[in-house]
């Protein structure tokens, strides 16, 4: 018995100990599959192994504040700026963007397909009180959704039972929406890569308000001495390189580009 345990420990324990850093990244970065395209290439180029923690933006920022990760890759500008101005991060570097899309049952009972703007979409859903699934987890997507509701002068706190804050990641929330045949806002990458679409389809996109910027922030080593700032800096430089740009712009699912590089070298 003990020998078996020891053997297993030997097999699995030998790995690691190379040059590694930890990156807390938003779920869409991983659920879209882009992380699997970028990080191995980064390892080939620099020999640095990135340990990816896939969490919502809110949790990523918490991990950065506590010094449990070396850098974060998130998408919620206001929260990012607060993080940097509180000196938890050294600076904010924009890397790429995609957009949010509105998903709903293909019959489209709220008739959002021909809406003029994202705000009108939300107003239509609220007026018809069709089931709407919200992330409800303080993630970047959730913050964006709340921002849009408030721009539409609607307040989720007062919504009826049709508004369901599930408090889960993008994939789990899409599963809920799929099960409930509900409307939901998702980032395009996660939606395209999602395997359980059921009766849902993409109904509305294209409003500039739905723009979704991803930014990279190295954690400040003045606050946490153990932070691997050198590795974090190399990842930043690499993410802004032509090679990374190429990988990001050419990452496609079903022929559709998911992210557009917009980092300034």
């Amino acid at each position: 018995m003990i020998r078996i345990v020891l053997a297993i420990l030997m097999i699995t324990g030998v790995a690691a100990k190379a040059d590694t850093m930890r990156l807390a990244a938003t779920t869409s970065f991983n659920n879209s599959g882009l992380s699997d395209a970028l990080l191995p290439a980064f390892k080939v180029d620099t020999g640095i192994n990135v340990q990816l923690l896939v969490v919502g933006t809110g949790q990523a920022i918490r991990l950065g504040q506590a010094g449990d990760v070396d850098a974060i890759l998130v998408h919620s500008k206001a929260a990012e700026e607060a993080f940097v101005s509180a000196d938890f991060g050294t600076h904010r570097r924009e890397i790429m963007y995609n957009d949010f899309v509105l998903i709903g049952p293909s019959a489209d009972p709220s008739r959002i397909k021909d809406a003029e703007s994202a705000i009108e979409v939300l107003q239509l859903i609220a007026a018809t009180e069709m089931t709407f699934v919200s992330r409800g987890d303080d993630s970047g997507t959730h913050k964006k959704e709340l921002m849009l509701w408030s721009a539409a002068k609607l307040f989720p706190d007062f919504f009826g039972a049709w508004y369901k804050a599930v408090g889960a990641g993008m994939g789990a929330s899409l599963n809920s929406a799929s099960g409930l045949d509900a409307y939901i806002m998702a980032d395009r990458a996660s939606w395209l890569n999602f395997g359980n679409k059921g009766g849902l389809e993409l109904l509305y996109s294209g409003d500039p308000m739905l723009f979704n910027q991803y930014a990279y922030i190295p954690v400040n080593s003045d606050k946490h001495v153990h932070v691997k700032s050198e590795a974090a800096q190399r990842l930043e430089q690499w993410l802004l390189s032509a090679r990374a740009k190429n990988i990001i712009n050419n990452y496609k699912i079903n022929g559709e580009a998911l992210f557009i590089f917009n980092g300034a070298p």
Binding site: M1, I2, I4, V5, I8, L9, I11, T12, A15, A16, R22, T27, N31, Q51, L52, L53, V54, Q65, A66, G67, D68, G169, M170, G171, A172, L174, N175, S178, N193, F194, G195, N196, K197, H224, H226
Partner: protein, 234 residues
């Protein structure tokens, strides 16, 4: 129904293609949960037995607390361990967060009360049987504990297996303290949660069947090694 069938097919495909990731994840699941089991058993078996034979003032209270701790919510354990091991927590300097070690700590906390409680129940019965004999032989406390553990080993194995079952099937705590990092802290349960999140139910279910098969194999292996349920030896 189709999804379940697809899951079975996926499980068969995963096992027969000897997928390298699957093997890594499976070994890590075993490593974490078996290590947690060994540590938890080393703590819980003597403690549960001691509790059965020792009489002290707050014994009833201690037993009630122990039984209540069996229902310790894993996600709360995970959160507390996370806060302890976080760089801004008291044990942050050790840098243990998001390592298999952190997952082992969380699992030990979750399964020790379970094993100790079942041990205590079993040992109490055995102790009432052995009480007069062991007292009349003038044994020391340590000898009594050892005699009870040895003679009650079959029941203790059940206690340990219950602990192992809880450890290997657990996801809430190890997700928080391990972080589900690919090739480092990803185990079967966290991988299942991840694939469910991607909407890839077939793969998630396939991993689920692998997990069930693994638990069965571990149980059979332990039964075979300890020669239970055989004629003449039990």
């Amino acid at each position: 129904m189709n999804e379940i069938w697809a899951g079975i097919q996926e499980a068969v495909r995963l096992i027969f293609s000897l997928d390298a990731d699957l093997i890594g994840i499976t070994l890590r699941s075993l490593e974490v949960s078996l290590t947690a089991l060994v540590i938890a058993s080393a703590l819980a078996l003597p403690f549960g037995t001691w509790l059965a034979i020792r009489r002290f003032k707050y014994r009833r209270f201690a037993i009630a607390v122990l039984n209540a701790l069996m229902g310790l919510p894993p996600v709360v354990v995970g959160l507390v361990v996370y806060l302890m091991l976080s760089r801004s927590g008291p044990f942050g300097v050790l840098g243990l967060l998001f390592t298999p070690f952190a997952m082992i700590i969380a699992q030990v906390i979750i399964i020790t009360p379970l094993i100790a409680s079942i041990t205590h129940q079993a040992m109490r019965e055995l102790w009432s049987e052995y009480h007069d004999l062991l007292i009349s032989l003038n044994t020391s406390k340590r000898q009594r504990v050892a005699a009870l553990i040895w003679d009650g080993r079959r029941t203790l194995m059940t206690a340990a297996l219950a602990g192992f079952g809880r450890a290997i099937g657990e996801v809430g705590a190890i997700m928080i303290v391990g972080g589900n990092i690919d090739h480092v802290t990803r185990v079967l349960t966290t991988a299942i949660a991840l694939e469910t999140g991607k909407g890839d139910f077939a793969l998630a279910l396939g991993l689920g069947f692998v997990l069930i098969a693994l638990t069965l194999m571990v149980n059979f292996a332990i039964h075979a090694l300890s020669r239970t349920e055989r004629e003449g030896t039990w």
